[in-house]
């Protein structure tokens, strides 16, 4: 039996791996609002007239995964409105981690990263993806208050002195 949205707040929501960025959450809210409008219109038509073969709207994979993971129903208008409200709160309060990569990030890799973040750091964490080829490899990560540079460029910069010493040794030997 699905849990009623009134009994579940935004802090209790879990996010499926298909939802990676804050944009995904925004898109899901828009979709839910659209679905709510369509279902409300269908309910109104059902009361006034009797149109044959009214098919419910088709949901996206992200929304379907989200509803399944959180065991939610959107059958009634009240449920949908509450869910939209909680999702808006979730969007405003969910922690965002900015991750800049040296190459274009594919969806599968982002899903793995966000899965690790949600299991290790925060259950509702999403990422904001950036691209900076000068990083060469690795990731440049920015949390709300800190910066973690795990790129190859930073690694080389850290080992600059060691490289100079190595060169001096090579020159002395040469």
């Amino acid at each position: 039996m699905s849990k009623q949205p009134s009994a579940k707040t935004h802090a209790e929501f879990g996010l499926p791996p298909s939802i990676v960025t804050k944009v995904d959450v925004s898109r899901m809210i828009n979709e839910l609002e659209s679905v709510d409008n369509q279902l409300t219109a269908m309910a109104v038509r059902a009361r006034t007239t009797r149109p044959p073969n009214q098919t419910p709207p088709i949901l996206s994979d992200q929304l379907t995964d989200f509803l399944k993971q959180n065991k939610l129903d959107i059958d009634t208008g009240r449920e949908r409105r509450l869910l939209i409200q909680q999702l808006r709160l979730l969007k405003d309060k969910m922690p965002v981690i900015h991750m800049t990569f040296a190459v274009t990030a594919d969806r599968e890799s982002l899903s793995q990263l966000v899965h690790w973040l949600r299991t290790s750091v925060h259950a509702q964490a999403v990422i904001s993806v950036g691209l900076q080829p000068a990083l060469v490899a690795g990731v440049y990560m920015r949390t709300p208050n800190h910066v973690h540079d795990f790129s190859l460029r930073a690694a080389l910069a850290r080992s600059h002195e060691a490289l100079v010493k190595e060169l001096e040794v090579s020159r002395a030997e040469g």
Partner: protein, 247 residues
């Protein structure tokens, strides 16, 4: 004998009778024809002769007339030539006399003018001689003064040259000294620059190596290949990330 019985006729009458008998009408006619033919023949011969004579006379007349005309003409031409010669000679003599007089007059005029010009030239020559003597005298004085001035200047220039030579020698010595100092400074600077360049090279070499590595590795790995390394690094800093999220 009968014949003798008849009256005797004179021989002339007898000849006349006989002639009368002999020269009958036909004979006469014959004679006339003969005479006519003979006359024509004579006439023709005479005409021929006459014609020949006439032709000869005409030819002779022509020749004579020609000779006569030629003689007349020669005589006349000679006469005219002589007269013309005389006339022309007289005319030329008179003109020559006029020309001679004019030439004589012109020569006299020219001689007068030349004598006058010669006198003027002599006067000018005298004046020029006087002027030239004066100029030469002046030039001599001027040249002497200029020579004196030049001598003075030459002496001054010699002094100046000596002074300049002394200054140049001093400058050369100073330059040599400066050159020596400059060479020493340059050597020291070069040595310093060499040290600086070597240090800079070592530092830049590190940058070059880094740049090369960055360029070489830039496109070698996609995100999937980097993922284990990224997750490992995040795992190493997991606590710091989690603490930051809780703040």
């Amino acid at each position: 004998m009968g014949l003798f019985s008849k009256t005797q006729k004179s021989p002339i009458d007898e000849a006349a009778d006989r002639a009368e008998q002999a020269f009958d009408e036909s004979y006469r006619e014959e004679l006339r024809n003969y005479g006519r033919v003979y006359f024509e023949k004579i006439i023709n011969e005479n005409a021929k002769l006459f014609k020949e004579d006439l032709d000869a006379a005409t030819t002779q007349i022509n020749i004579d007339l020609k000779d006569h005309v030629i003689k007349k003409l020669d005589t006349t031409i000679s006469k005219i030539t002589i007269e013309l010669k005389d006339h022309v000679t007289k005319q030329l003599d008179s003109e020559f006399a006029e020309y001679s007089a004019a030439m004589k007059e012109a020569q006299e005029t020219l001689m007068t003018s030349q004598r006058r010009n010669a006198r003027a030239l002599e006067d000018q020559h005298d004046q020029l001689t006087v002027t030239l003597r004066k100029s030469v005298a002046n030039q001599s004085v001027m040249l002497e003064s200029v020579f004196q001035e030049n001598m003075t200047r030459m002496e001054a220039m010699k002094k100046a040259q000596k002074e300049a030579l002394r200054t140049v020698n001093e400058s050369a010595r100073a330059l040599e000294e400066q050159h020596r100092l400059l060479a020493e400074t340059l050597q020291a600077t070069v040595a310093k620059q060499e040290t600086i360049l070597i240090d800079a090279f070592q530092k830049n070499m590190a940058h070059i190596v880094e740049h090369y590595l960055l360029g070489a590795l830039g496109d070698q790995y996609d995100l999937k290949a980097q993922l284990p390394s990224i997750i490992k690094q995040m795992e190493d800093n997991k606590q710091a990330i989690a603490d930051d999220m809780k703040l």
